[in-house]
């Protein structure tokens, strides 16, 4: 039985000689929700951005559904793909950003329809239909005709999630989706992400919401200093961490969240 969706093997990345990722390997099953946690600068976001090649890794292999991501053989030599060559692969890897990055010159509906229209080659009417379905899933159907700047941060992030849903990706990457939100707006975004997890979408979630990670993720990876320190079932890693560094980190954020350390 092969239900592996994503494998990451030996991922390395440095910036100007400073290593940010040192040999990261993990995999993700279909329908699984994986959460990456760890202190700021531990490489979580960089790791996530390497999966869809928004950052080009220095070394390592990434495969989605058995297809090698971001590398191509041309004239007997292997090299990184260009952004144009990456486009068909990126279609299958949705990404939700910390700062939403909706397109301000388009209505909410057109924001959500654009990937299906341009990357998916759908007709305009089909793309718009799909956009409305996706907006309904994040409970924002009534905002379809508004421009993004009229929406609250939480609503903007839910539109960004709808945009990713309309892409019909095999995997969705969440890069700290609630870190830029006012505290009272975090809940609505987490609720939507939880619903998607319950629907069986395959997701990787970089987050500082430890309690949420424990509740929603099937598995948790704790990273620090560009390496995976500990990984395992969410409840196990967060409630009964084995490694001292994990305990120290959870102790710090646990204190802030009122969790038992």
């Amino acid at each position: 039985m092969n239900d592996t969706l994503l494998t990451v093997n030996g991922l390395k990345k440095s910036y100007g000689g400073t290593p940010v990722l040192r040999d990261i390997s993990f995999s993700l099953r279909k329908g699984e929700t994986l959460s990456l946690i760890g202190p700021s600068g531990s490489g979580k976001s960089t790791c996530l951005r390497c999966i869809n090649f928004l950052e080009r890794p220095d070394a390592g292999e990434i495969s989605l559904d058995g297809e090698r991501i971001g590398r191509v053989m041309k004239r007997g030599r292997e090299r990184d793909m260009s952004d144009r060559e990456l486009a068909p692969q990126r279609r299958h890897i949705g990404m939700v950003f910390q700062l939403f990055y909706l397109w301000p010159h388009l209505t909410v509906r057109d924001n959500v329809a654009l990937p299906a229209l341009k990357a998916g080659g759908m007709s305009r009417s089909d793309a718009r239909k799909l956009a409305l379905q996706s907006l309904d899933r994040v409970h924002l159907l009534h905002k379809a005709d508004d421009y993004p700047e009229r929406l609250s941060g939480g609503e903007q992030q839910r539109v960004a999630i709808a945009r990713t849903l309309a892409q019909k990706a095999k995997l969705i990457l969440f890069d700290e989706p609630t870190s830029a939100l006012d505290p009272e707006l975090v809940g609505e975004v987490l609720t939507v992400i939880r619903e998607l997890a319950d629907d069986g979408l395959s997701m990787i979630l970089v987050t500082h919401e430890i309690r949420f990670a424990r509740d929603v993720a099937d598995r948790v990876i704790f990273m620090d200093g560009g390496v995976i320190v500990e990984e395992g079932p969410a409840a196990k890693v967060i409630d009964r961490p084995q490694k001292e560094r994990t305990r120290a980190f959870l102790g710090q954020v646990g204190a802030a969240e009122g969790l038992p350390a």
Partner: protein, 220 residues
Amino acid sequence: MNPGSVPAILATLLAGALTALQIATGAALLAFALGLLLAVVNVFVRAPLARATHLVIGAYVEWMRNVPALAHLFILYFGLASVGWQLSPKVAAITGLGLVGAAVLCDVFSAAMRALPAGQREAALACGLTPLQALQTVVLPQVLQFTLPALGNYATQLIKDTAIASAIAAPEIMFYARSLVTSTFQTPLIYGCAILLYASVIYPVNWAFARLERRLGAGR
């Protein structure tokens, strides 16, 4: 008709205005297309080629901006003619003003593209758009909206700059005005009519840009 009468003056200058508009339109199209192309290359070119491209485009922009447009027109018209390549005054003016304008607009477009959050384009690439699609649907619509006031300024400046094409005998407004003055000596009247003509061309252009700005801004 008395060649010194106002209708006769206006009729002559109007022929010049037509030439001026042709020069301005041609130069604007060249400046817009080349300026946008240079800006896109300048901003989005990647690692191995970036240094060389920045150097070449930067040098072009500096050169064009630091030399008076009149000097460029002289080189294109008299300079090329002396090596056996005779351009018509109109073509020389369109080329010269267009090349200078491309440098100006390259700067304008580059600045707007750099001001756009990089994440906007990344979001487009991340959902499977090609770089060209991201450019067409995400980057350019916003860049054009941002730069509309600067484009309006450039357009009016360009129309006024067509006057220097008279120095290479392009039959535009000031060219006819000067020749009318030498034949009729109606100096204030003729130059007054010329000024009126410039204003009546530039004012609608300004108005159209202002209206476009309001309309594009109204959606949000």
